[in-house]
Symmetry: C2
Subunit: 584 residues, 2 copies
């Protein structure tokens, strides 16, 4: 079955039915605010960290699937429909979803009213813009009611659906005109709030989920929509939402455009309040004023397109195979940027709660985007290195908001440190920025433990040498790149994570051939790096260490032959990127 | 508004509409398997621990609310309805929910087909029985299709909705006749499985949620029900469910009864398999055979009623105030048993994930049920005491499955230890079982740290004395009974739990008057206990310690007067339960 097609000129994938086998999603956002959006407008937003700063609520693995999102309802007399099909699921006369680079457009028509929904997060702003364009293609004047809907999350996505004793008692909101401020916990210990607004007066609003939905109703049949009016509810505990009800009259052929903004604002602690009890809304008001007209929205969308031009155009291929060109020129680099932004911390199957960003993962991801955004790759390398442990090992994961190693996930994935060497090598080869090696970077995020990045690489290298097993091969620790090879921490008890369960024995037996190969591969990279910065003696030392591992390996016969063949193959791989002197 | 009424004779609360303002729930189970059930059959089951052994899936704070449960669908031609109203929500001609002691009955009628659903967990069996009785009250023969439905949880309720990378890849099931075995992870590291069965042949079954529901459908409109047949799907990953489709023909006036069982079975490790790859079903088969007929179901229900007679009848009052009698004779002792069984670890607002059972809570709860089930109160006391720390302090919470203190929640709630003294005192006063004081009980669940229970009480007493502040009053630690008084660990940072955030300062300043009063209260209890076991010197020591706190308190003027009045009042409270010699 075919559900859509690529539009290479627009750099879009066009989905032709809302009823895809699973939600087909896009990622919005380039800097700090992000969104996941499905082809039926499902998904959620967060600020930097999908666990700690979840802005809107989303229920994974729900029934029905993919419920919760950026919803709009249109009501005309007794007829109710959603331009994104969900959540009402009224059959549409036409439907298209266009997933582009950092934006998504959903176009649909029902009974000669056509809708165009544009979703994107502008460069450098913590807002998601939702432009709703409605056109009357009939010959009569049409009177519609448009309802918006978002459900707010109470910031920490894990608490939000485990700790109800607390979180059903704390929701708060403020309403000013058409702007609904989600201010839960702002009075107490948070210095951030969210808001949802529209650039037109509303006939009514709701901020309380139960008031909007009514008892036992789903998102498909809210009382407010069925009744044709919100009830101006003010949330106090329970579940905060934002819904606008707007009257729209369209003459034959007439179009109207509305701009909705979902914003996230942080204030400095000393400027949290405008006056006692009233939150400081300056940033929000500036944003609301700035995007009140569609020209500024279109301008922001153009800036987003220019941003992608800058990333993609320097590296384009032309070839006869349209699919190869499409992959190399558009979707692979786009995907690499998504991994840069979210690592694998949040997707439609990664709940954004469990893992934060991986040390190994982030170093690997960097290999894919280093040429696209070298400045940010630099920042990422320094962030990652700052979570490294003083013995050269690494926390396996870190939380993107705090940039701290995640003690819940543990350390001792013994391949981790080597990936840092490879990431730094790739970065230097791309940029020539050798100065990065002199940057002072903390260990364990503790400033007084700061040393040069070069020192971090030496410790990464030595970590492997300091952790050899009975065959003089690297000890595996909890696991190597094959996360499932848990020789020391395999557990027969249910519920014990291999990431955190106590190791069996002393961990001095199980070795990893994969880490040996990786060590060789990284040693060659490191050696070339050291030659380039004129440290020939250090380069020699690294080279010797790699040679010694080959020499000292405690294997015999065929085993040894096989090992040496593989080990040397790893050592040769890197040479294709060296120049004649073996420098980067 | 009135939604129901009490039936004192049947010891039931009768709910007269499915559309209560919130789900009104009952608790099933008396020993190890438990269930929460709402008046529309929503809720879930677990074995001992709502986090670690969740049997069926339930989504808290969902939209629509209270979705997921023990569902039945009736289909007659194109008409579909649920006898419990949810999930189909077809208007019923009549509806009643009877929440009784450990059982719930839902009776409804639609177009002259009446349904009676009985839900309960028999004493000493890890099964939930669901008896479905259907009666044709019309004058025509009626042909119906009955569908059952449960959705299985992948055992660990937290992982189940956070770790999809893993849990969407592991579901497994086995089907034998009308029995659907949920065997996920059994092959690997679990020795337990669940099953759902019915005592009649099925026309078809489903084990895969997507196959049963179809794409994007809710529980209200499953494809299988709409199509009139399950598709005999075999789950492999994704979401395991169990659904039976049964053809039922009813002559005018005819009734039919079906017995569904949701079972949980643990096998010894060495007897996990009947033969390679085939799970050992002996226990399940015994249960299925035993409850295949309605007589044995009725017998088990009668045993449950006898069980409640035994608990309630020894302590009954007669009085003119029917409401007082109702509370004292039925619902208060019932509620006390619920807190015994579940502490506050699982309810419709406690997700069963966050906290396990509280040290303070469980000791307090015990005061309410000690006269009802003294043997089990004894066991509970020993379980709680075994989580006590060696300095006399306590883990604040423990996990009911493992009976281990929960390091996630921390310790240092400085009132905790005193509650153990009060619980033991209440138990001894009720039973005269002084031998419990000689029971060897571990500290920190470590056998080699075992001492007598009496030693535990001394350490609890001394814990307070060893932790006095500048006014010679007890230090508060993280909090006292007022969990919100977090003087040492109040955090200005969002996301830091008061239970686990690092304490500010050395914790040597903030004191708790409440703990001082509690200390006095418990000291009097302890003193009486020591007199009773003929340890007058120890009794005097305890008494002196309580007197000294009064004497040494570093307060002045009105503060001191007030303190002494309150402190002495605590000391007098206990005396009403003493005999003339001040013994228990």
């Amino acid at each position: 079955m075919k559900y859509g097609h690529f539009d290479d000129k627009q750099r879009e994938y066009i989905i032709e039915t809302p009823k895809t086998p699973l939600p087909w999603i896009n990622y919005l956002g380039t800097e700090k605010m992000f969104g996941l959006i499905s082809n039926t407008a499902g998904g959620y937003n967060f600020y930097r960290d999908a666990r700690l700063r979840r802005i809107t609520r989303y229920r994974y693995n729900n029934v029905p699937r993919d419920l919760g999102g950026r919803y709009f309802y249109l009501k005309e007399n007794d007829k109710i429909w959603s331009p994104s099909w969900q959540p009402v699921k009224t059959e549409l006369d036409s439907y298209k979803c266009r997933h582009g680079l950092g934006y998504t457009i959903i176009e649909s028509e029902k009974d000669k009213i056509s809708a165009n929904l544009l979703f994107f997060i502008p460069i450098d702003e913590n807002i998601e813009i939702r432009k709703v364009s409605l056109t009357n293609n009939s010959k009569e004047t049409r009177s519609l009611k448009l309802f918006s809907f978002v459900e707010f999350c109470l910031w920490d996505a894990l608490d939000d659906f485990t700790d109800f004793q607390r979180n059903l008692n704390c929701a708060e909101a403020e309403v000013v005109g058409s702007t609904i401020y989600h201010t839960t916990e702002y009075r107490e210990r948070r210095n951030h709030y969210a808001y949802y607004t529209v650039n037109t007066p509303c006939s009514s609003i709701d901020t309380d989920r139960d008031a909007f939905l009514g008892n036992y109703n789903g998102f498909d049949t809210p009382d407010a929509v069925i009744n044709g009016e919100c009830s101006n509810s003010m949330v106090s505990g329970w579940s905060p939402i934002a819904s606008h009800c707007i009257n729209i009259e369209l003459a034959p052929g007439e179009s109207k455009e509305l701009v909705f903004l979902l914003g996230y604002v942080e204030n400095p602690k000393e400027k949290k309040f405008a006056k006692s009890g009233v939150i400081n809304k300056k940033t929000a008001e500036r944003q609301i004023a700035q995007y009140a007209n569609t020209e500024s929205v279109n301008k922001a969308l153009n800036e987003l397109k220019t941003y992608w031009d800058k990333i993609l155009l320097p590296f384009q291929i032309e070839c006869e195979d349209a699919k190869l060109a499409r992959m190399v020129n558009i979707w692979n680099p786009y995907q690499c940027m998504v991994t840069f932004n979210l690592s694998r911390s949040a997707s439609y199957f990664e709940s954004g709660i469990g893992r934060g960003m991986g040390f190994r993962d982030s170093n690997q991801d960097l290999l894919g985007f280093v040429h696209q955004i070298p400045e940010r790759a630099r920042e990422r390398i320094l962030d990652i290195a700052a979570t490294q442990l003083r013995d050269g090992g690494a926390y396996h994961q870190y939380q993107p908001l705090t940039k701290r190693g995640n003690p819940d996930a543990g350390d001792n994935f013994n391949d981790d440190p080597q990936w840092l060497i490879l990431a730094v090598g790739a970065y230097i080869r791309e940029t020539g920025d050798l100065a990065i090696l002199n940057e002072k970077v903390p260990y364990e995020n503790i400033e007084e433990f700061s040393e040069s990045l070069l020192d971090h690489l030496f410790r990464a290298h030595n970590f492997t040498l300091n952790n050899l097993g009975p065959h003089n091969l690297p000890l595996i620790g909890r696991a190597d790149w094959n996360d499932c090879l848990n020789l020391n921490c395999f557990s027969e008890e249910p519920g014990e994570s291999f990431q955190t369960t106590a190791n069996k024995g002393d961990g001095k037996t199980a070795e990893s051939l994969m880490i040996a190969g990786l060590f060789m591969y990284a040693a060659k990279e490191f050696e070339a790096m050291l030659k380039t910065i004129d440290k020939p003696k250090d380069a020699e030392k690294i080279n010797n260490a790699a040679e010694e591992m080959r020499k000292n390996v405690n294997l015999h016969g065929k085993d040894k032959e096989w090992f040496i063949r593989a080990y040397d193959a790893f050592g040769k791989k890197i040479s294709s990127s060296e120049n004649d002197e073996g420098k980067i």
